[in-house]
Amino acid sequence: MADPQRLDLPHDARDPPPRARDSLWILPLAPTVWALHFLASYVTGAVWCAKVAGYGGPLGDARVLVGIYTAVALAIIALVGMAGWRRHSYGDATAPHDFATAADRHRFLGFATVLLAALSFVATLLVALPAVFTGSCR
């Protein structure tokens, strides 16, 4: 692009932008679900052991609660991941999504969302594991 007068020409003409409005907030969505799941599990365990079972008491229903949180969190993360995947697959361009068009920016946001959802999914599973293997408040 030698002629700067032409730099502001819309490249979007070749790769039409999506109709949906994007937002940067889609990126932190899945990790936020991870964080809420983490916090809820931690608080549940802490309050259960401090107020219900006492030190050394059985975890009982606290484990069930963590299980429910985990199922809900994984479902939401999966939905976010799917929304990301749809954005990533928009049109027919492939990664690395580094063109100067609104469409590629849309795909990039989608792809990064997918990656973050995958990380959050695995991290949520990891955080849930202690509730599988631990039976008491010791």
């Binding site: 936020t32 975890l59 990664a95 100067a100 590629d104 695995v122 991290a123 990891l126 955080v127 631990t134």
Partner: protein, 836 residues
Amino acid sequence: MSDDTETRRAAAQAERLLTAWKTPTGWRYWSAVNNSEVGLWYTTVAFAFFFFAGILGLLIRAQLAVPGNDFLDADTYNQVFTLHGTVMMFLFAVPIFEAFSIMILPEMLGARDLPFPRLSAYGFWSFLIGGVFVCGSILFDAAPKGGWFMYPPLTTEYQDGVGVDIWLLGLSFIEVASIAAAVELIVGILKCRPPGMRINLMPLYAWYLLVVAAMILFAFPPLITGDLLFEMQRAFDWPFFDPDRGGDPLLWQHLFWIFGHPEVYIIFLPAIALVATMVPVFARRPIVGYSWIVLAAVGTGFISFGLWVHHMYTTGLPGLTLGFFSAASVAVAIPTGIQIFCFVATALAGRVIASTPMLYVSGALAIFVIGGLTGVMVALAPFDFQVHDTYFIVAHVHYVLVGGVVFPVTGAFYYFYPLAGGKTLSDRLGRIAFWLMFSGFNIAFLPMHLTGLRGMPRRVFTYEGGVGFDVLNLVSSIGAFILAAGFAVFLWDVLRPKGRQPYSPRNPWNAGTLEWLGEMPDKPWGVRSIPVIESRNPLWDQPNLVRDVDAGRFYLPDAEELKRETLVTSILDAEPIQCLRVPGPTFLTMGAAAGTGGVFIFSTYHWWWLAGLSGVLALGMVLTWLWTGTALIPEKPAKDVGLGTTLPLYKSGPQSVGWWAMFITMMGDMTAFAGLVFGYYFYWTIHEDFPPDPAAGPGVAWPLTALGLFLAAWLLTVLARRWNAGGRRQSFFAALGLACLLTVAGTAALATGPAVTGLDPTAHVYPATVWVLVLWVGIHAAVGVVMLLYCIARGFAGKLTPQWDIDIHVVTLFWHFLAVTVLVTVATLAGFPLVA
């Protein structure tokens, strides 16, 4: 137009730009607020503190070189190691990233400056004053000596003197500077990118910085909360950490590490961002896995908040809790590993050019990977039980921080030095320094793993001979001095006279990002004209970019009104939306920092009158700064910024940068408030009778009255904004005036509750917790009233009108947050005793 005319026009434009962006000379030089000056001062001072803390480190190693040494006595040794850790963490590692980013981020974004240059300058002066205060204490034998995390009850009951207060107040002050930097960086990255630099084309450095700045907002405030509680205990005997009166030292550990662990990543991510900047340049290809690195930055940012309890494995928390944090501590290795693999892949896919910065990057990766692996080891609770508080941890933390921060930063120093000074550093000296540092570091710290496994505890001023520590310690001490020799060579390279050395060629490393547009030596305008970007590496992919930028063929090539201007663009696609006027040199920021510093420093010695006077000085300075430098009404609503584009000079509401700054600041403020509320519920979980039954206070009636008054004030503020916009000026003034009165009444009502029910904050932690929440609301109410009065004054002065109304929008936003604060406070104080 003939070539000659065009040349003359361009020269006149350049002349006007130079005049607008001229650096003040003589003693007025220190009034500069431009990013290149402030960034340079910031970097210099941060490195000065680094060398100071490094010398303290050498004193530690000299003392530990042989068993039974009496080079330092126990008390001095405690001060030395406490300051070593504190200064390295708070006065080097965090500030150096702020310093680097203030210096290079605007250049990387092709911006003339960041949106709030005076805020950066204020942050710098705060950092300098606070840092000198904290460091200077050791010269008067008054330094803190409780370790860099200041655990009570050691520091509340067993250590006299002002050392702890110096630590608490000095560092709180510096945290203010960090939050200021966070505001600056977030708004700068999201709103001041060059046209065309869509979010998918942003340099990775900016991505990392965005994540880090957001992390600061959620990590630093809990420590400010902790500092507040701690200082209330030390100064006024409110028993937050005193078990005899219901307090709990563990609350400090929680608040400290909710800050402390993310902080490790707050200093690591910007350094790894430097690696991500340098690796593609020397591999001569674009980075491999750009999206994956964005994933790593954002993912690490989040997961790092789920690790804090791994510093507290041995405090007796339930196994389940340890399990959660252990799992998260292992999970964080995933994104951390991903970015390392991306760097290695980039290097393998390209043709790596041997160079001094790349040498440091390689050394950094090697050392950091070892530190990361021992990190996974200590993330496992059973292993950690064995090595907790031993030299194994000392080795781990140094591998992580030296590999993750010091080596990348030193490499980046070699890399970016031409941008700051126009000259290059010596390759030969750089290599000598590197090998001394690399070998010295490993000789010093590798044996410490073994010293720790053999059982040597950290923070002891000496040890018995003949129990297996002697040789290892001696080797470590020798290594430390070799490491120091490397830094001495580096320091000489930086300081040696370079008068006869020719200027570096432009873009000496042949990099692809915009900061290398600068001429050698650089001009104060940042960039001659703000280019349109179409690539992640515009200098590689956009032919003639440099020529066209220099010829002023892009945006803002001129400063017709001789004012400092930069572009504001949209968040996702960087479409130009505003021409932002940024303020120029002033001493107000220095004065404001001196006033704020006075508040903290005089409070240390309980000189309340002087502290109060300093507070008034700071308030006066800040108000003058705001009055004369912000929300200025432009002489015309819009101007031609070049390339046939006309942009407004004034944007109000959520489109103004000031609104964003307030929003971001209040996110941090809400986090600090959440820390206080966490304290309340924390005490509930550990006590049978918290809140006491029957309730001791503050009752329900007074808090509810307060809530009603505050909500009415909030509603009036919102209405005032609408009435102003609708031109109903008298209603606007009346509403704001009434809101002030209601706020004062509301604060009084909130304080009356605990006062009439006889809650004594020194008697037990329950009344102390109630009072501290009331105090928090009171401080915010006072700020809220000042803001309302400011808007009234601006209205009368004709600086706040129906058309030009940034101020009232920003103040209303503050009031939204204040309303939430009061709501949560009243729900907790009045509501929770009923439920519990």
